[in-house]
């Protein structure tokens, strides 16, 4: 089984988001980048399934410029066998999906795993697009993934419940909790990661279809109105008469 795990390089979850003064770009200064938290589920589950099968390979793929390599190496340290970086700034979800689809096709991967969505652009798009480009099913978002031979059984989260879906390889799935316990690199992993192959390839395909023109921050709160605990019930009156939400 050949697994392709797509990882996105995103600002750490504790990042306070700011933009350049013209609001045109995300301000990267001092920001630490991590593997997108949901992609860690995809990576760990691929490694677990490979280990359980006793054979197979796990390749990590990132579409990004050279500054994403520390996180690609981290994925190798966690247990991926090799890596590919498509050397381009990720222009939009469509552009990223084109790159992933091209690599998946060329490498004849059986299982293409991604995260549920990126925590920076929150697209929830790339997995569906890749599935459609390759003409194969996409199961998103998946909370559980088990494999038996070429058949996968997944639990897909829907609003208010879940669906059990069975698909054959090749397929795309986007992963989220509680699929597995994401692994962290150990010392041996970090050592071996240095020498694992990381191939850099140029981008292909058509240009992006969307363009970000400006960013904005949510409006600030006016300040909190405190109600004494002794007369907590007064809060309910305020919610009805002042805030008018109940």
């Amino acid at each position: 089984m050949k697994f392709l795990v797509c990882i996105s390089n995103v600002p750490d979850t504790t990042t306070k988001i700011t933009f350049t003064p013209d609001n045109k770009e995300f301000n990267k200064a001092g920001v630490q980048f991590v593997i997108n938290p949901w992609d860690e589920y995809a990576l760990t589950r691929a490694i677990e399934l490979k280990e359980a099968a006793g054979s197979g390979t796990v390749t990590v793929l990132n579409v990004g410029e050279a500054d994403t390599e520390p996180n690609i190496r981290k994925a190798l340290a966690i247990g991926a066998d090799d890596a590919i970086r498509v050397n381009a700034a990720p222009q939009d979800a469509y552009f990223v999906a084109e790159q992933i689809a091209a690599i998946a096709k060329e490498g004849a991967y059986d299982v293409i795993l991604m995260g549920k969505e990126s925590i920076d652009y929150n697209g929830f798009q790339v997995h569906g697009m890749v599935g459609e480009m390759l003409g194969i099913p996409t199961v998103a978002p998946a909370m559980k993934l088990d494999m038996s031979g070429n058949t996968a059984t997944l639990e897909r989260e829907i609003e208010g419940g879940k669906e059990i879906v069975t698909v054959n390889t090749p397929f795309v799935a986007s992963c989220q909790q509680p699929m597995c316990e994401p692994r962290i690199p150990n010392m041996r992993g970090i050592m071996t990661a240095r020498t694992k192959p990381l191939k850099v390839v140029p981008a292909v395909g058509e240009p992006a279809r969307t363009q970000v023109t400006e960013f904005a921050l949510p409006p600030k709160k006016q300040g909190v109105k405190l109600i004494p605990a002794e007369t907590a019930g007064d809060l309910i009156k305020l919610l009805r008469n002042e805030a008018k939400v109940i």
């Binding site: 306070k16 929150n122 989260e157 279809r209 400006e214 109105k225 809060l235 805030a243």
Partner: protein
């Protein structure tokens, strides 16, 4: 040319988020000087579909194929693509749900359309530029995105726009067939399992949410959260550590790595207000924080606060709601 709105139904009813999407679609159609047609998916009744006229929809297409009751990615994609061709729709609008966004991304490739998900406002038309504002950085910011090309798909975030009701207006319900065959249903789910929702209210669509954190001390105390939620007609939610230790199910976990909610009212009980939690709730219209620590960071993001013990405060709030009647 028209605007095509994808309306999700369940148990015969149009979902709340789809009423929002229908209103949104009708407004976009008005901006462009055209009409809005809906295509219904899921289990619907003609009578309920006709009421989409109240949201400004003129015509509703409905394919009565029984296998469309549950979400099947391929079949839904083909159904909507066929409707879009028939209606010559240049703009397709869906809910940013696990159905809408999943179908939207496939459709964008199939119909060569540009796509924006998580959209929070009506589009702005600057000359021939079509700009939408969408949520980014998991609730920490917004980005304005230009959608290019002849066809555009928009997935609208739940609770970010309001459903309008013009009583008495009805839409024409037209039967429609996308001629779906067995192969279109190859990825159909073998089983659909619904959870019991507190009071039957789905968290992502809820107008009011009562949420508990580690300060609730243990799952045995959740009746305090549930009682207040029930009195308010609210859904229940929790912080990540609470679902990580299985005090509550995962689908209740809100935040940057859980679900993002934007209810009118979010009441946080014994939650400290970590940046990852705030990201998932800060687009709520009114935030109430109950915490015994006056320094808890959540108070900075709150509209109303009570510095106090949840075990003392929650029963008082529940009683006060019941008194209101």
């Amino acid at each position: 040319m028209s605007v095509l709105v994808v309306v999700e139904c369940a148990d015969g009813e149009v979902k709340k988020s789809s009423l929002e999407v229908a209103s949104y679609g009708a407004e976009v159609a008005a901006m462009l000087g055209t009409t809005a047609t809906a295509i219904a998916v899921g289990e619907a009744t003609e009578a309920n579909l006709a009421t989409l006229g109240e949201q400004g929809i003129t015509k509703v297409l409905y394919d009565a194929e029984p296998r469309l009751k549950d979400f099947v990615n391929n079949a839904y994609t083909k159904l909507i693509a066929t409707a879009a061709e028939q209606e010559q729709a240049k703009i397709i609008i869906l809910a940013n749900s696990n159905i809408g966004a999943a179908v939207g991304s496939r459709l964008s490739v199939r119909l060569k359309a540009s796509l924006a998900t998580n959209v929070v406002e009506l589009p702005k038309l600057n000359g021939d530029q079509f700009v939408v504002r969408r949520g980014a950085f998991s609730g920490k910011a917004f980005s304005d995105v230009v959608l290019s090309g002849d066809r555009k798909i928009i997935a609208v975030k739940k609770n970010s726009t309001e459903a309008k009701h013009e009583a008495g207006k009805t839409a024409e319900v037209a039967s429609f067939s996308a001629q779906l065959s067995d192969t279109d249903f190859a990825d159909a789910p073998s089983q659909v399992v619904m959870q019991d929702q507190a009071g039957g209210i789905l968290l992502p669509e809820a107008d009011r949410v009562v949420s508990g954190g580690r300060g609730m001390k243990g799952p045995e105390n959740w009746n305090l959260i549930e009682d207040l939620a029930k009195a308010l007609g609210a859904a229940t939610a929790c912080s990540k550590p609470v679902s990580d230790v299985d005090w509550r199910p995962h689908h209740e976990h809100v935040g940057q790595t859980g679900i993002t909610v934007s209810p009118n009212l979010y009441i946080a009980c014994g939650i400290s207000g970590a940046i990852q939690h705030l990201a998932g709730v800060n687009s709520s219209k009114v935030i109430v924080v109950i915490n015994k620590d006056p320094e808890a960071p959540f108070f900075k993001a709150a509209d109303y606060g009570i510095v106090g013990d949840v075990f003392d405060v929650l029963p008082k709030l529940t009683a006060a709601v019941k008194e209101l009647g």
